[in-house]
């Protein structure tokens, strides 16, 4: 039987999430034993034509050209997985969504007329149907392996929807908010990273975006008690997942 064909697509992003696949040093050769890497420009100049059984998509949509390209990618793919904060929430570049992009272009580029860009940076699901989303900035490579494994074996991927707090408890990390008074986004942020920041004695800064039904208002009240200003709250929710609905609403609520 022919091996399933894997495509890896990049839109506006830092390359980090697709690098996660190459960072699977112990598993990479096993993965390429099970799938045909049919389209993965960062790794290979050989391009095999679609359709692709699984497409992994990194990056957000920020240009008219990319808005068209993602439709082509969708058409060529049976199962489409959006990976990372850019592909699932618009990424850090979605900070433009709160401002005037024309002004942004003028700040960075001397000849704004050369630049073709959309007003907003938007997730893949705003443009085409997405079959699975993996969060994170960057994604957790083991979640990607789990997703590929599940797809190849026809089962549902195990991607936990609970908060980072659960991961701290399982890891045995003392709560940085309770013990040190360090503001932490862990209670409202989806698990997946392994609760790295609190283990290094810093507060979570929300790489995996909002968990299912987060109580962001309550967390903001706690942050205020710890001395964080309204501007500080806006910045905290306006990170790599700024345009994810729950974080977006909370940041807007604290804007003057």
């Amino acid at each position: 039987m022919a091996k399933p064909k894997l495509g890896v697509w990049k839109f506006a992003s830092c390359d980090g999430c697709q690098l996660s696949l190459l960072d699977c040093e112990d598993e990479l050769l096993a993965v390429v034993g099970e799938v045909e890497i049919a389209y993965f420009l960062e790794a290979s100049r050989a391009v095999v034509k679609g359709p692709y059984d699984v497409s992994v998509v990194e990056g957000s949509i920020t240009t008219p050209h990319d808005a068209e390209r993602i439709r082509q990618a969708r058409k060529a793919s049976k199962f489409l997985v959006a990976i990372g904060a850019c592909a699932t929430a618009g990424g850090i570049q979605a900070l433009r969504n709160f401002k005037d992009v024309k002004e942004f272009t003028r700040i960075v580029y001397a000849r704004p007329e050369y630049i073709s860009t959309l007003e907003q940076s938007t997730p893949i699901s705003d443009h085409v149907p997405v079959d699975l989303e993996l969060r994170g900035c960057p994604i957790n490579k083991y979640q990607l392996l789990e997703a590929l494994n599940a797809l190849l074996n026809g089962r549902k991927p195990n991607v936990p929807p609970y908060s980072v707090c659960i991961e701290c408890k399982r890891r045995g990390t003392v709560c940085v908010m309770v013990a040190d008074g360090t503001p932490c986004l862990g209670p409202v942020t989806q698990a997946g990273c392994g609760a790295i920041c609190p283990a290094y004695r810093r507060g979570c800064y929300g790489c995996f975006g909002p968990m299912d039904t987060p109580n962001t208002a309550s967390l903001s009240a706690w942050w205020s008690k710890l001395g964080v200003s309204e501007e500080g709250l806006v910045r905290a929710f306006r990170g790599f997942n700024a345009y994810a609905e729950a974080f977006r609403k909370e940041s807007v609520a604290h804007e003057k």
């Binding site: 050769l29 290979s44 050209h65």
Partner: protein, 429 residues
Amino acid sequence: MRNRTIKVEALARVEGEGGLYVKMRGDTVVDVKLRIYEPPRFFEAFLRGRDFREPPDITARICGICPIAYQMSSAQAMERVCGVKVEGPVRALRRLIYCGEWIESHALHVYLLHAPDFLGYESAIHLAQDHPDIVKRALELKKIGNELMILLGGREIHPINVRVGGFYSVPTRKDLEPFVEKLKWAREASLETVRLVATFPFPDFEQDYEFVALRHPDEYAITEGRLVSNKGLDIDISEYDEHFIEEHVQHANALHSRLKERGAYFVGPLARYSLNFDKLSPLAQQAAREAGLGPVCRNPFQSIIVRSVETVYACDEALRIIEKYEMPDKPALEVRPRAGTGFGCTEAPRGILYHRYTIDIDGIILDAKIVPPTSQNQKTIEDDVDHFVRENITLPDDKLTWLCEQAIRNYDPCISCATHFLRLHIERE
């Protein structure tokens, strides 16, 4: 007169998106454009209004391959504004995590992105079918670099433990101990790598570049130094804007950087090596000599050897740092905001990465400027392709196209960085 064009729509084995367009008329090259269509992400714009402690986390997201470079340049720029200097073991740990990034990034480029060109494979995955041992060694070497970043940074991509003033947590001597054996293996593997890549066939292609890199009196410069060149530049990093200028060209979403007085210049491993050979460890120097290199290397195709020599150095240096390490009393210095402008410049795996920030008394960012290595090399890459095509114009299109791609990959261009780049399109009229 026969017209030809060579087009590579989407360059492979580079980080980010770009293409190449070469237009020829008969035996002359009419036009070379490195097209950067990686979408703009406007970091310098949205950094305005952010807190001065945020750039190490935010700017890391410019590049998944060299986040430490962004974290170090931005953290040091902020420390300079605020009048703080990180010294002693915390400074050593910064150099150590940077060594991890060099090992990981160089192993990625040497084996997974560049070596397949010399060995005639489309990718390292194809290479692995015939030479599994080479690819396994590559992955193991890369992994050790990543593990060093995980220990010191929390994770390999976008580490979480670097902050303005130092780190959130620092390792104990015992945490670092397991790395001694790993790094000794990695150093041997890097020496093997130098021996392997030295046997590759290299085109006879030397250019009179202006090399620009950091130089430090006591060490092979990574995290700090003066900016020097082989053509007379010798400045403090705060004088960068007086000597370098960024231009916006129509075919690229990345700004082209050039020296105001002399134009195109070259940053990255070849520049560092050629300006700082005397600062390499004896083992790295010996490995370079055995590979047939002199103290200066002007052939960009041999950058794969230089990258491998730097990997030997990074392992050597990491071992030296671990041996001398004493855990600091505090993981970070306290940094209070102070109004002013600060500069940071460090040696990312691909070359100098310059940051400049202006902040107010409350630590809010008023202005930011970031110049990544690839935008500094763009002009030189275009010049190289131009010269290379001129010298090899009789080659058939498919061969010429692959060699042009290779001429670009010599620079390990990071387009994600430069746009803050590549499609190949050769056109013969």
